[in-house]
């Protein structure tokens, strides 16, 4: 059973969906954050697969930039979570409902 582009498609979709499920199921802000990283990575995987498929180097560079952005995001995001924990001593997102009108 040779590997085709569709296999990578399905795989990356599966990972993405698992990420979404995680974000929906968990209340821990850090876990949700990790699920987001998982989704980003699934997209990266797909990009690399397409790069391979079309012999296009640009896609790999995009993966590179996505990683850059993800790293920056994680830095800020974790800082926020730490900050939040310092205030309410919890990382439960259900406590954080200040956005309510």
């Amino acid at each position: 059973m040779p590997v085709y582009s569709t296999h990578y498609l399905f795989l990356s979709l599966l990972l993405f969906s698992i990420g979404i499920m995680g974000a929906l199921m968990r209340r821990n802000a850090i876990i949700i954050f990790m699920c987001i990283e998982l989704m980003l990575n699934s997209v990266n995987l797909l990009l690399v697969a397409f790069s391979k498929m079309y012999v296009d180097i640009n896609a790999q560079l995009f993966v590179f930039f996505i990683m850059v952005v993800a790293a920056a995001e994680v830095a800020v995001g974790l800082a926020v979570i730490v900050m939040m924990y310092r205030k309410v001593h919890s990382v439960d997102i259900n406590i954080l409902n200040r956005l309510k009108h």
Binding site: A23, L96, N97, H101
Partner: protein, 629 residues
């Protein structure tokens, strides 16, 4: 001479402008002089024109085009004047009687601070009336028609500090407007079916070759015009403004009642005789309404105590006579009565003005009496006026009224009997007025008694002139039994053609004449005997009904004014505020309400946000992949 016809309205207009612009800078006497001279100048030109029209060299009407007033598409209405027998006659009446009233006013109004303004209004009034009769088409007539309405508004509310007076002015204008609307609709019908408003064009095509116009249209037009006439000439149902119009200065009443304004309706119908000849049904309506007005107003006049109110109702009643004449097709007779009525009604009003002047503003005849001794000229002239209006033989009113009654008899004896009844009442209430005012003993205060005096010459001269005219004015149109040449009818003949008027046998006519003379003399006697020793008890029953004018004002108030006001209030409170506006605001409110509910979705729960986002994504993907393709 007829080419300078525009000068006739121009002089009063100039007088109006001078007095109107410098109303607060000009000395009173100068203002009065300008006003009077303007009308006098018009009168002189009118005289010239009258003789030209009368001369044998005059053929047909002369039309003087001034400029194009309204021209649009196929419609072209010039501002044009028309001169013929009818208009020249009215010119004479208006400017003649008008200048006498002006002369009288210079003295009567001399104490009033607004005298210059008064003369400005008066000139404008005469100007409007001159436009009305001079116009060569209905539009120019309408301009004058509304113009006299305006002036009556201004003059009735001349003493504008009194709310009642301005209310009366408003009432007069609005009632006139109701009639004017009828006139306007009539004009629109004429334009629609004939494409013109010019008398000449219209009357030459009426009912002739233009068979495409259905005959019911003529009735509609005639009826609409007649509605206009009821407003201006104070017929049922639009007459109630006229007695209220007594709020104005007395000479104004004379002007409104004798020379201008109220005669406009008669003039219009006489002018449109070609149209009315096509619509006998409408003529019946006119006759009926005229007679009903004559009787109704006469009954009211019997129980009035205000000297001017009596005269006002007598005018309404006399106008009813004129409409009766019109209704039986005797147009020239109606115009004849307009003329004689102008003389004696102006005389009576000016005489009453003289009385009021002497009484220091008192108008209640219960407080008068015995004035004859103090004011011989006024008394004599007033007596002549009363005799004339009562139809005493040999005076002008006798001829015209007799002609009306004779024509009515020829038309229908039932109408005649009622007409005679109205004439009887006329004689009664006029002499009741006369006796209460001038004979007997004085019933007013001592101070008033002391103040009694004959009016100055500027007031008595017009009285004397008018008295003279009231006596001789009738001899231009003597009935067939006396003289076979009716100068008046033959003068108007080319313009106004009577319709369906039968000639009575000479013997019948003599009988009718004798009957009416006997009746009126009898009523004078009755009036004398009743009012020899006047008693003014609180009236009851029928008398009270009459004294309160059949409660017509109250009826109108209850049936029209109040429901209308209530409707307006209702509309304002409910239809507008709670109806339409509420719907509009309701849209806004429901949006706000909806947002309030939707806002609750914003729970602040990050988890549910993610949930909703995912569900939204699913829906969007589903739509984009499986529906839109």
């Amino acid at each position: 001479m007829s080419q300078v016809v525009y000068l006739i309205p121009l002089f009063p207009l100039i007088g109006f402008l001078i007095n109107g612009i410098f109303w607060n800078k000009m000395p009173k006497s100068v203002g009065g002089a300008i006003g009077t001279l303007a009308i006098l100048a018009s009168f002189i030109i009118s005289l010239g024109i009258f003789f030209e029209v009368r001369s044998a060299a005059f053929h047909g009407p002369v039309i003087v085009n001034m400029f194009d007033f309204i021209s649009s598409g196929n419609l072209n209405i010039p501002f044009a004047f028309q001169l013929d027998a009818l208009s020249s006659l009215f010119l004479l009446i208006i400017t003649g009687v008008g200048s006498l009233i002006h002369l009288y006013s210079t003295s009567y109004m001399h104490e009033d601070e607004g005298m210059v303004r008064y003369f400005a209004y008066l000139n404008l009034f005469v100007f409007s009336m001159l436009l009305l009769v001079l116009g060569a088409n209905y539009l120019v007539m309408f301009i004058g028609w509304e113009g006299v309405g305006l002036c009556s508004y201004l003059l009735i509310g001349f003493w504008f500090k009194k709310r009642d007076y301005t209310n009366a002015a408003k009432k007069a204008f609005v009632m006139n407007r109701i009639g004017d609307l009828g006139f306007l609709v009539g004009m629109m019908l004429v334009i629609y079916y004939y494409g013109t408003l010019g008398y000449q064009e219209l009357f030459s095509t009426l009912g002739g070759a233009n068979a495409a116009v259905p005959s019911s249209v003529h009735s509609w037009i005639a009826l609409c015009f007649f509605i206009g006439a009821t407003g201006k000439s104070a017929q049922i149902p639009l007459y109630t403004w006229l007695p209220d119009a007594m709020a104005g200065p007395t000479p104004v009443s004379a002007l409104i009642h004798a020379a201008t304004m109220v005669t406009a309706g008669i003039y219009m119908i006489a002018r449109s005789n070609a149209l009315y000849n096509l619509t006998p049904g409408v003529l019946h309506v006119i006759a009926f309404i005229g007679l009903a007005t004559a009787i109704l107003a006469a009954t009211i006049a019997i129980r009035q105590y205000d000297i001017k109110k009596v005269l006002a109702y007598s005018t309404v009643s006399q106008l009813g006579f004129m409409f009766l004449a019109l209704g039986v097709g005797a147009y020239t007779t109606a115009v004849f009565h307009v003329m004689t009525h102008a003389f004696f009604k102006a005389l009576l009003f000016l005489g009453s003005g003289s009385v009021i002047h002497a009484m220091g503003g008192e108008q209640d005849i219960r407080k008068m009496g015995g004035l004859g001794k103090h004011m011989p000229v006024t008394r004599t002239t007033f007596l002549i006026g009363c005799l004339a209006i009562s139809g005493f033989p040999g005076l002008s009113g006798f001829f015209s009224k007799d002609e009306i009654l004779a024509n009515t008899f020829a038309h229908s004896s039932v109408l005649y009997i009622f007409g005679l009844l109205a004439a009887m009442m006329t004689a009664f209430y006029m002499f009741r007025l006369y006796f209460l005012t001038f004979s007997g003993t004085f019933r007013g205060t001592e101070e008033q008694h002391h103040h009694l005096h004959e009016s100055p010459a500027a007031m008595t001269i017009p009285l004397m002139v008018l008295a003279l005219l009231s006596v001789v004015g009738g001899y231009v149109g003597m009935p067939a039994v006396i003289s076979h040449h009716n100068a008046f009818a033959s003068f108007l003949g080319p313009v106004v053609k009577n319709f369906g008027v039968h000639h009575l046998a000479e013997s019948t006519e003599w009988i009718l004449m004798t009957l009416s003379v006997v009746v009126s003399v009898m009523m004078i006697g009755v009036a004398w005997s009743v009012n020899k020793k006047p008693q003014f008890a609180e009236s009851t029953g029928f008398a009270k009904l009459l004294e309160n004018k059949w409660y017509v004002d109250e009826l109108y108030d209850a049936v029209i004014t109040r429901p209308l006001n209530a409707l307006s209030e209702f509309m304002d409170k409910y239809a507008e505020r709670r109806g339409i506006d509420a719907v509009v605001n309701g849209v806004g409110k429901s949006v706000r309400w909806g947002s309030d509910r939707l806002r609750l979705l914003q729970s602040g729960q990050v988890g549910s946000y993610i949930f909703i986002m995912v569900i939204g994504m699913v829906i969007l993907f589903t739509i984009s992949f499986f529906w839109v393709r």
